[in-house]
Symmetry: C2
Subunit: 322 residues, 2 copies
């Protein structure tokens, strides 16, 4: 019976409530800009972060209404950062749809992103939990401060520690919030809170590493964007770092590190070399290590269908192909 | 003695605390971008909004620490909106200093603005008052929604009601928050809360009308920016609306309404015609009406030096020259 439980989705109902709440946050009839926000919300993706929040919250017996608001707030904050990041990075596709910044002047991305931030603030305050509101704002600060630091980062050397710090702030912090805040809602003890946070953090780290692998080795059609977008923007991720360790003299990769824009042919050859090396597998092993450590934290949660579903969710991270 | 009281500043000390709190929000040594935020905060301006909050809060006996946080949060939200607005409008000068968008690519303005929003969220949650946090988020929503609607506004006709609604959302809402939230902090009754909000709203409306007058008739050196920037961006304000009522056939103004970019010579002549008409005085009379109505709301506050200072502040709005 337990295996059946893990295949049923134990948060189907609150997830549907969250979808309704999310779709109420943008009135697509008011302007083409709000319609674009509504569209981006609906395009949705896998709802990993809200799913984490709902599963952790159910496992810890958090109140349903605040939990659904928290899950929606986390997804809305994610959406807000995507809109501004796409503008900052000049990205052209998101979830297979043309980004706002390719359709309108920068003003639209700025303001629609601000609107999404505002909606996220409204949703998180609806939890009426000051500790949750505080954790939310701290997470937002970690994410934005890291983005500002990234803008100011000089070209050249990038260490493994820099990389982990960057993806920790960019991605894992939000997963940590999703998994940890439910422990605040349920007034769980400090130990459970810390374990839930570490679980979310580890899942987030693995998620971003797999994302960075897919950016090089994934199927562009499934990803909804061309491969190599990180390198094209001068961003060095773990697979490229692994490759650089084994091939410190690779001139194409050195050029990317120095923020010289590589030509498309050179970039394609570089991606091929990385994909044919052991760099990809080593990065995936690192992701698996994060997942393994994260799974150990789950012992802190009561045994229940939601805990099994959290383990499934974590294991799926290293199996995903998009 | 009472007149002496009104000339002394009854909130000198909390205002200084607020300045310290504000300057702690941006570490200028971390990156040139955070330095730009620190510089913008320090350039400061008149601190009208925090002054409103501190005076109202003192009059209503709100707790000092939450009040100072509220005042700083309001000023930080104001700063955040300025950064994104300057990017959206392509403005080149702010408080006499080159705007971020003229110094760096859009990414810097987007992220430094986001950083300021995040700091504002941190400051407001430090009040630890859910009603205040809610009022803050609602105000942010009013401001951002209005900006998005403004992007989508079709060229052509603009009514007086449209104008009042726009400046209500753009400016008066934040003044309303500054004056009203202290009543929430002090747990004043509903009547006092409503009166404090209306006072702030009226002062904000008058402030924006005077701002719009100065944009046409002010001294560019004192303003720190050239005159006519609104018309140059196709924005029609109250003086221009007044002028249009008396001169419905003015071709230059009609062109601005249709979003045709006027040439500089035509624009200069248009500004001269508006300034020589009765349109400016009529706009200032409207501002005075808002101040007169706002002053009546002050009767709801206890008689104290802070109440007199609030009246002074309101009266100064229609006297200012920058």
């Amino acid at each position: 019976m337990i295996t059946t439980f893990t295949f049923l989705d134990p948060v189907l109902e609150p997830l549907q409530q969250m979808e309704n709440l999310l779709s109420n946050q943008a009135d697509g009839t008011r302007s083409p800009f709000e319609a674009a926000l509504a569209e981006l919300i609906a395009a949705g993706g896998k709802r990993l972060r809200p799913r984490l929040a709902l599963l952790a919250g159910r496992a810890l017996k958090a109140g349903e209404a605040p939990l659904v608001n928290l899950a929606a707030a986390v997804e809305m904050l994610h959406t807000a950062t995507l809109i501004h990041d796409d503008l900052v990075d000049g990205a052209s596709l998101r979830r297979g749809v043309a980004t706002l910044n390719t359709r309108w002047p920068a003003a639209a991305s700025v303001l629609v992103g601000d609107l999404a931030f505002t909606r996220a603030a409204g949703l998180i305050q609806a939890t009426r939990s000051l500790p949750v509101i505080e954790m939310f704002t701290r997470t937002m600060a970690v994410m934005v401060e890291s983005e500002v630091a990234q803008l100011a980062r000089p070209a050249g050397y990038l260490s493994r520690e820099d990389y982990f710090q960057r993806i920790g702030a960019k991605t894992a912090a939000l997963f940590e919030l999703a998994a940890g805040a439910p422990a605040l809602l349920s007034r769980s003890g400090a130990e459970t809170l810390a374990a839930a946070r570490r679980f979310g953090y580890g899942v987030g780290m693995a998620f971003q590493i797999v994302d960075d692998v897919l950016d090089l080795a994934g199927d562009p059609a499934r990803l909804g964007k061309p491969t190599g977008s990180d390198l094209r923007q001068g961003v060095i991720t773990l697979p490229a770092l692994n490759y650089l360790e084994d091939h410190p003299g690779d001139a194409d990769l050195r050029a990317v590190l120095q923020r010289e824009r590589p030509d498309e042919a050179g970039l394609k050859r570089l991606i091929e070399r990385i994909c044919q090396s052991a760099a990809i597998d080593r990065a995936l092993e690192t992701a698996s290590d994060f997942i393994r450590e994260a799974l150990e934290e789950l012992a802190c949660l009561p045994e229940c269908p939601e805990r099994f579903a959290l383990a499934d969710l974590a294991l799926d991270i290293v199996e995903r192909e998009q």
